[in-house]
Amino acid sequence: MLIKWVQTLGLSLLLMVSAHADLTIEITQGSEGALPIAIVPFQQPVTGAPTQNVDQIVTSDLARSGRFQPLPVADMLSRPVQPNQVDFRDWRALNVENLVIGQVDAKGPGAFDVSFRLYDVYRGEQILGYTLQTSADELRSTSHRIADLIYETLTGNKGAFDTRIAYVTSIADQTGKPTIHLRVADADGYNPSSIVSSSDPIMSPSWSPDGQKIAYVSFENGRSSIYVQEIYTGAREKLTSFKGINGAPVWSPDGTKIALTLSKGGNPDIYIMDVRSKKLTQLTSHWAIDTEPAWSPDGRFIVYTSDRGGNPQIYRVEADGGKAYRMTFEGKYNAKASYSPDGKQLTLVTRVGEDYRIGLMDLRTRDIRLLSTGDLDESPSFAPNGDMIIYATRNKNRGVLAAVSTDGRVEQRLVLQAGDVREPAWSPFHQ
């Protein structure tokens, strides 16, 4: 009797416990979409307000990523600056999940403190808060850093807003004579500055892994040469100037080597040059054209474009040599491949009918997903966080830059750069 009672008690206890633990509800529907966020205009100092608008830079950064859907300022029910002015009900009513408030305080001539707070609206709590010291010149960069902090906090991925892009642009003067510039700008296209200018073509900029140097191809003096140039000092070094093609330089992930295309052997093949010793190793040797090399993030592989199969396709070879392995089979044109930072995807240019589009290939499934919608899109380059790709596209017969989120949801042209813009390259993380 007692035993039975004990058993019963034990059983009921067990049932009670398991009943608690067992109430499980599966959520499988939901929807996918950008996160609704509100960035309230930051309070500006009464005097000496900066020319740059921090909240607008943050807003457009987050919007461009495709991961966020900022609430238009006009729709806001209140515009709090201080924490005690925040009424979460205002924001819940607008289905906003996160809220950013802040202010810019003048701290002497050209110096500012930028303070901001990030809130979780539904939990009603602050999840991030910083005060950053900056200057008028650095205010855009500081704004990008704020966007990066918010992005990283809410998505878990490092933000790539405070990074830069290199690109080539051709600007004609009054007489119509073009000047070619290799330019570096903020990732949103602002703050462009030329690091090389020439009347001859400049091609294929490639960032060194530390973000301090750029390798590129220049046709100055009438023949192609590969240069490596320090961005801030302008100091440059000619790496190769062989007969024929000297093209498509690309830094290895550890920065000790550069893969490139040379036709000194008669037709274009991939070579690897040791940056310090300048020692050259031929990687591919084929009668067809092999070009546009790119390193895998672990430095083990090099992918490149070859037309050995009759039309341009992507091949892969181990960086220390070996057999070529064809990676793309879809369509008649796949070129200019490069690895995503996590090494799981390739971005490439693929021809769809008569159009050239940016594609994203899953290396596991080998499926290629189209990311862009233009007719002559080229030179895709991953952001260092892998969440976005920048590429060149045509707009009214003029080259412009566009960025697309890797899920393909948001495609956005960057602010207008002057001239005919081509060949963008996204920098590594700011160091």
Partner: protein, 288 residues
Amino acid sequence: MWELIQTNQKALGAAVGIHLMLLLVMFFGVNWTDDAKPLPVTPVVQATVVDQAALDREVKKLKAAEDKKRKQKEAAEKKKKAEAKRKADEKKRKAEAKRKAAEKKKQEAAKKKRLAEEKKKKAAAEKKRLAEEKKQKAAAEKQRKAEEAAKKAAAEKKRQAEEAALKKAEAEKKKAEAAARQLELEAQYQAEQDLTEKQLIMAAIQQKVDRNWLRPPGTPQNLSCEVRVRLGANGSVLLVSIIKSSGDVGFDRSVESAVSKADPLPMPTSPRLVSQFRDIRFVFKPSS
């Protein structure tokens, strides 16, 4: 007495029968000896034959006849004597027989009388004995019957008591069973009600959270995240804690936000169920 007779008809019948038989015997009696009868006597036949030549022979014959005659006379004399003697003997024997018969008759009568007396005495004794026996028997019977009746009554009483107890126990058992059944039914009904309500509320919660779940664009299908949610009695979300992360911060955040945005969650009305709903595990797993 009547009751006794009534109840002992068989015994009474037997007694009457026995008496009747005795009376019959006494009236008719039984002669156990036969009468003795004298034996019959047979007479003797005489013949004579004479011849000359045969005189000698006759003389001889006469002589012989004389002789024979004398002898016959002697024989007749002897026979007469013998006859007389036999007759006297006969007479004597007959008298003796008569006397013996009379004696025998006398003895017979005495014996008969004695036997009758003995019989009568015996019958009387038997009657007495029977009466005594009957009386004793009746008394014994009476006592037996009384005892039997008492025993029977006691047994009946006991049986009735047992039956009553059994009936009572049965009734109680039935009652208890009915009560248990009722409880069981009620519990079952409640359980069904609870289950129905539980399922309804779970579905309502699921819907509300689903509606509020906005995951990052391009979320891989293989991500999943488990959270434990503590709720107030009114369904208000008190605590959301991740017990199994998807490994993706954005995804995890979307899960936490979904629960927070769904605050308050639907709650059952039954207080028994409310406690079950105060602690819920959610598994977020996008399906294509």
